[in-house]
Symmetry: D4
Subunit: 231 residues, 8 copies
């Protein structure tokens, strides 16, 4: 408790910037941009960067990107993923591979957020895009490679059935991301969310709708467990 | 309109017993039992039977079955399907076959209601049970036979993903029945209902949760279209 | 399975373009445009067109239409239906007719999507527009013609009662489309969706809210069953 | 306000028994039984009866009926309607007639609650039962008589489409009661509730699910407006 | 039925313009504008006006108003109510008065739609605005006048409690309109909708969220019942 | 943090019995009974009682009551409130009074739970029962006394409008408890919950459906603030 | 009642401006701006200001701010809080302090609305911002100071867990504000709303989503109870 | 695909018993009992057991337990967890430990299902029970030990905040199980489900309400990744 209490955080006027994860384990510090002013995003980004680790900002809009890029011209803007990364530490990629699977082309922004998250966390990834269940031969064509993944992330909107099918094909943990792709009775992602929660396949867990970051982060810490130097 | 107005129906105290379908096209008359007293079910059944066609009662409980069986000892009680049928007219089965597919053993009562409905309507059917997507090899083992069906009915609870996968495998119309099998975030069948409505496979339409009768009936009138003597 | 595995699909960077339906049965290839960039829509359209069959793009916005039209000036833009079609194969229309019924003028975009889908699939159609149940004489005036349809598609928003009334009038299969027309307790189409799912008329099945394409496609494959050369 | 403050009510330990309606306008006093002990129901019934007007208790279970009948053997138990009435004042029935319409046999308990309410309020009523829209000829056969009603009450479960159709046929005010008859996507009456609220027919208003009493009461005070001696 | 079938309606390309109400009983013809093009609104308006009765268009946007005004410069645009009226027939106002009650200033557009509807139907109305229950003395100050209304319309958003309180104060029928005024857990009017449906006051019925037209129309036909010449 | 870490709790096999509130401020220890075996309830009750303060168990069923009474024959079972109390410490009641208000007789179990909670916390309370808004004169008759309360708890089911009306009458904080009393569109208390959350009266906060304990507890700690010796 | 009836309010064409709170107890008069025209806001503001007390307008947009500032140049616009205040009476701040706690930077507008409300009501406040439970050491670092607050307001979006944790740390009343900060399964604040309503910590009550004003107001009237001169 | 197609499964009349997991990787075969007859459960259990691996049946009721025990007297019935296990293969427990955390005593059945699942999969587990956030010192007392877990499973009902707090304390993957413990606005587990999905802590994923099996299974396959011999 004492230790906990003394963990470092840096109080700004509008935020308590937290450094303990980066200090302890080389994880990136992360900023969730929505609801913050460009100035706030820039300022928080700067404090996090000053500690020396890698930095990731998610869901950044144009003004927020601009605010960061004016401070750190070397920061990378991942347009499809709506992310900004600043890499200040290098590490070899993992041996184990994280499979990134999507049902359709419209799910790209979500899976790309997961991908950027995995990569800034030094994970090896492999993409399996546009393999939705309506044309299941496209998925089955990859089934052997899919089984070699150590963790699998599946993003799907509309009915979200892909997570269950993938869950039945592989033995690795599956992290399912319902996406808000769809219309009508999709209810902004409620349909695939319920589908994935009710999956009859074993080994599937679910994150929030469109939450590519969280799925990527979780996949990364699971994948690390299998590395020789893990923990 | 005039014709419509003069269609025959027989007023009881508690129901207007309708004969026009049976008269016109040999369809069975159908009683939906819930909310009716055993006496009412028996009385309606008798009036329908008196016209001479086949009769089907769905969702019958023990007392309702008893009430009908005391009037028509030859009526058949389909226990798993919770149906009663009285066959008074024979017809050769169709050439085309209706495929009846379920995800799990717990979906049996629903698919059996569809099956009894199809059979009293003189349809040829073929069952594909317990082939849910979590072990997709069980479904794929039947994919060739499935493609030979003229219409397919799919009943699935939990996440209901089976309808999409089947919809992607076959070219026939698929009638999807969400079932209330499941718990928690299944919300009594809401999850598979939304899954099926959002299916990205083409050629899939949906009926009410657990509505085996309606799916069976619709499959039958579609299947008839393909018969040589159709319409 | 082997056959399945070797079905042709063409991997782009952002999509796996699927050709097996067009190859096998002359069905059009279909692109669902939302969430895709104009470039992606154009590129997928081109790959599909190259195979030689008919092509249909649904829910196309102005930029996507422009992207396709710059590649295929002969492609037709159906404005009310928000669709693009490219006809490269001709076939005689069906004998059987698909009835297209709407409750009100505001449901036009949805039923027009169904109509464009039916027509690119070589179906004969007949429209019954603005015949909602609040003035039921408008529907009853057409009841004789309606009964001659081989399949009926009904699009209705607000309370969606039209599907049940039509379902009671005809013996043909009825595909019901709830539309998002309405306000307040319509909850963006939830009200007519529930109405249609609970229809007490037999022979009614439901597709997603505003999903004119899916209803049209399903109506087409059902209508084909009744053609002499069917299957 | 002063007048309001001095309206008579009689405090019991568990209830404030209210007499002002009965005193002023001969309306019956009403007890909603659920959640009250038989003793409480009996005691409140007695206080209301002591004032001399008619008394109505709704949703009474067997023990509550027993408690009232032991105090007032002349009270009438309406079994299907689950109501108890005590008539202590006679009045001639109204000239105007309230039409009571139901979609199916299972809606009887709800419409009977409306009927008992109307009758204890001295209204003339006419029943049109089991005329749901799936066989619309049954309703149309009565359309002339329906148009002669001064007010119409419509009870329907499942998809509840009957209220819109009736609303389109008559010019009288229509009070719609969604019933909990149905299953699956009826969600205990939510489906017909939304249907009725979204009715595109003019002149339709809605009460709570299964609330036969409220519909009957409202129909009665509307019907009274048309009587010669009204107000 | 025959009569019904031959009721006049005039088919346009996009609508079946209905004249039977205006012909029979001097009711206005009504156009619900959303989802129609300005051209369509203008055209339907013209056909309705040609028959000679009064015309009402609701929820008209600027372009739709312009389209009508260019055809009928004498038509009146009610800005707050978002309505257009064309009066071609005069009738003396009713003796009975319809009370129009709102909880807050933000409910004005909805109650004004009801008011315009009542007035084009020749009803006498009286407004009681901004008398929400949070300062109940404002409502009670009017309780005597409120009791003199023959029908009462109550529009309230947020928690919608006003309908119940008014329902307890008056003996007249109360038509309750939930409005979408509010935020957060109002869920766009769901909260006052449920409040009003569950009203423990007798004599209250509910229309769709924000549906001022429907409430005004219903109030008008109820109020007419009490007029000497009624029916 | 250190202090926090060393707060006393007593680990049983199935629970960590917590003593820090009772030790610090004479608050009662509380057991929420549902989901615990009678043995578990008895055992936890005994550990809490051993510390010497007052003990309260809520939502106790017959077997749980029996288990506690066999250990503490002097414990009091409050039947309507479904609570058990053991008083081991006496304190003078507060000067300030907590008003306990209910809409109807059926809300009694909930308000009684609040009352028992207040009393075991040594609060003075005053009851205002069955004063729902449908007969607002019953509430207004008490308005002067209500204004003298230091805190007010309002329990109401069905439409829950009472909280807003009370909130407009008094200046004291109002704790609103939605109850599950009602049916149909009450959706087990959802309707009054939304009503209360959207209250346009100031000074109203809401607890969970039927949560009499939480409202009573909160009312007590607020009432204490006004006592001379407070804090 | 009489007293109640004669409470002063000033009828405008569009509002009944209420003065009784300000007159009696020095509370500010409050205007909820959404749905009112700038002219209406300005006019109501002027009437309220004329009485001489402090005035608060919440959720003011730019045009509404402009309308007020043109009348009262000395009025203060609190940009983050979207509020306008006019201070015309001074009072010493309270002894007791209200703690204002937020989970994240994005919750600032909501908590600032609470803060402005408290300050115009002469309350002493202390802010604890960006102390969400994902880095609980940030909250625990303040636990001693938090315990010294007399009332605590907690604003949190996303999962809203902060209210429960704070509720377990302090003995003061906790007013919880769910915020609409979040996405996906937050459903615009539904998730933290349910979280807070189900809080297993005692002493927590909830206001509407994003309702900083109501929480601030309630905190103020509770905090006043503890002041020496209270009541 | 070929391989997939030839995976072994054994067709019974009512189920396709699947052996491929057990054969490949020593995982237990699992039966989800609800909706199956005792005879079916017994029969499936026997087929699974015959293959020689470990067997797990979840959610077994008394009759189903009896059916299995009559066939396999040595099978173990875990009463709190409602599971049956048959151990036929022994394996050394893992080095890594899975932490099993619950908020309250009532969550025991769910976490016990997870525990039984982990143990039949040869996992080392450690329990942290009744450490809900309302008394956060109980959780913090274990924070050091919690950090040593390789995976953490958290079961919580009511508001479900525990998952976020644990997620903020540990760096291991957290599998969150919302439980149906609670009442009112818990909506049978919807509240903690939404809470957990919206968790602002990183590294948290969610399974279905009350799904202890799925959480345990997923925790096991993740924990295995960290074992020396993993994959």
């Amino acid at each position: 408790m004492q230790a906990l209490r003394h963990l470092p955080f840096e109080p700004l006027e509008f935020a308590n910037v937290d450094h303990h994860r980066a200090l302890r384990c080389g994880f990136p510090e992360v900023i969730f941009c929505p609801g913050k002013t460009p100035h706030q995003v820039g300022e928080i980004f700067r404090r996090l960067a000053d500690v020396g680790g890698n930095v990731l900002a998610t869901r950044a809009d144009a003004a927020q990107v601009e605010a960061v890029r004016s401070l750190f011209p070397q920061a990378v803007h991942h347009e499809a993923a709506r992310c900004i990364t600043l890499r200040q530490q290098e590490a070899p990629p993992t041996n184990g591979v994280i499979g990134l699977v999507t049902a359709g082309t419209s799910d790209l922004p979500v899976i790309e957020e997961a991908k950027v998250t995995c990569e800034i966390m030094d994970q090896r990834v492999k993409s399996f895009y546009d393999v939705g269940v309506a044309g299941i031969h496209r998925l089955l064509a990859h089934s052997q490679t899919l089984r070699e993944m150590r963790v699998v992330v599946v993003a799907a909107g509309m009915e979200g059935a892909l997570a269950s099918v993938v869950g039945g094909l592989v033995e690795a943990p599956v992290i399912a991301i319902p996406t808000s792709v769809g219309y009508g009775a999709s209810f902004n992602g409620l349909a695939p969310l319920l589908t994935m929660l009710n999956s009859c396949a074993t080994g599937v867990a679910v994150v929030n709708i469109d939450n590519g970051f969280s799925a990527g982060y979780l996949a990364a810490i699971i994948n690390r467990l299998g590395e020789p130097q893990s923990e």
